[in-house]
Symmetry: none
Subunit: 184 residues, 2 copies
């Protein structure tokens, strides 16, 4: 027997966070490279990457292709409290939820470039309301945005309210998007 694989996903995250603390890294500083981390922590690079991806998703770390991995501003954020509050108290009007989703998704249309691939992707999913909206949102690269949308949308799903757009509306949105092309 060999008892290897002593590492686990959460332990790896913990290791990296410990390393950040012990190295006295400050917001903006660059972490060791993934290869270096792998060797230092005695885990594979793939595991390092999964841990870093999680830290990135949590907003602790930021990666730049070819540049390195950097420590984010470690600020406390209230926005999740907001969402939890509005969910718990659920004083929110259902119509506000719908409006919110429509606004966010419409925003995605104005902010994301309508490349041929993206257009094709949406076109292929125009028949399914939820799939269509998901692809719309995930076009944005802002993870905070995706998270907020996910939570609001989950709430919406809980209401069993059916489709947010009709297929005609979705097709019209798609046309408008393709037609828009270039801002400024």
């Amino acid at each position: 027997m060999h008892g290897k694989h002593a590492s686990s996903f959460h332990e790896n995250i913990s290791k990296i966070r410990t390393l950040i603390v012990q190295a006295a890294l400050e917001p903006g500083d660059r972490l060791p490279s993934e290869r270096e981390l792998a060797e230092t922590l005695s885990i594979s690079r793939a595991s390092v990457r999964e841990a870093l991806r999680a830290l990135s998703f949590l907003g602790i770390v930021e990666t730049r292709h070819g540049g390195g991995t950097f420590l984010c501003e470690q600020d406390r954020h209230r926005y999740i409290e907001i969402l939890s509050e509005f969910i718990v108290t659920k004083q929110t009007k259902a119509s506000d939820i719908v409006d919110m989703l429509r606004l966010l998704e419409r925003l995605a249309l104005t902010e994301v470039e309508p490349t041929p691939e993206r257009v094709a992707l949406l076109e292929a999913n125009v028949q399914t309301d939820r799939a269509f909206r998901q692809h719309l949102i995930f076009g944005l690269k802002n993870e905070l945005f995706v998270r907020i949308w996910s939570e609001v949308n989950r709430f919406y799903d809980g209401t069993e309210a059916g489709d947010l757009y009709t297929e005609d509306e979705r097709r019209r949105l798609l046309e408008m998007w393709r037609g828009a092309g270039m801002p400024e």
Copy 2:
């Protein structure tokens, strides 16, 4: 042969979510195995895993070692649980906060009609970043939207990061808005 890298992290998440919807999976159902997903979506298993990890963080999916990957129960409890977890970790990229605010405010410009009164109001406040943006947002009638913006912005204020736009930018936004005029 190693060939193309047509995939990206966000696209992969999108693909998997689409697959979940199209397969009409219900909470508790098992997703295809990672290997199967990799082949179906034409991406590597490593990429599938990174995407699944993200979905796991979003509370959409749950993995069991040796058992499989399952769609989460989407009841309220689970959902509060996720939020509380986010609250505990309370980490978010500052850049995402900034992006979020800019997106929301830009959205307000496209959604709110530039009536003479509103234009005058913004013009009167164009010298102060905070006031300008606030009047922008309050043009939207969606309470949830305003609430989320308020909280996110409060956090932003906490960072003492200074103005979000320069005065020139604000003036340009104003001009763009006034020029846009009429939707549909």
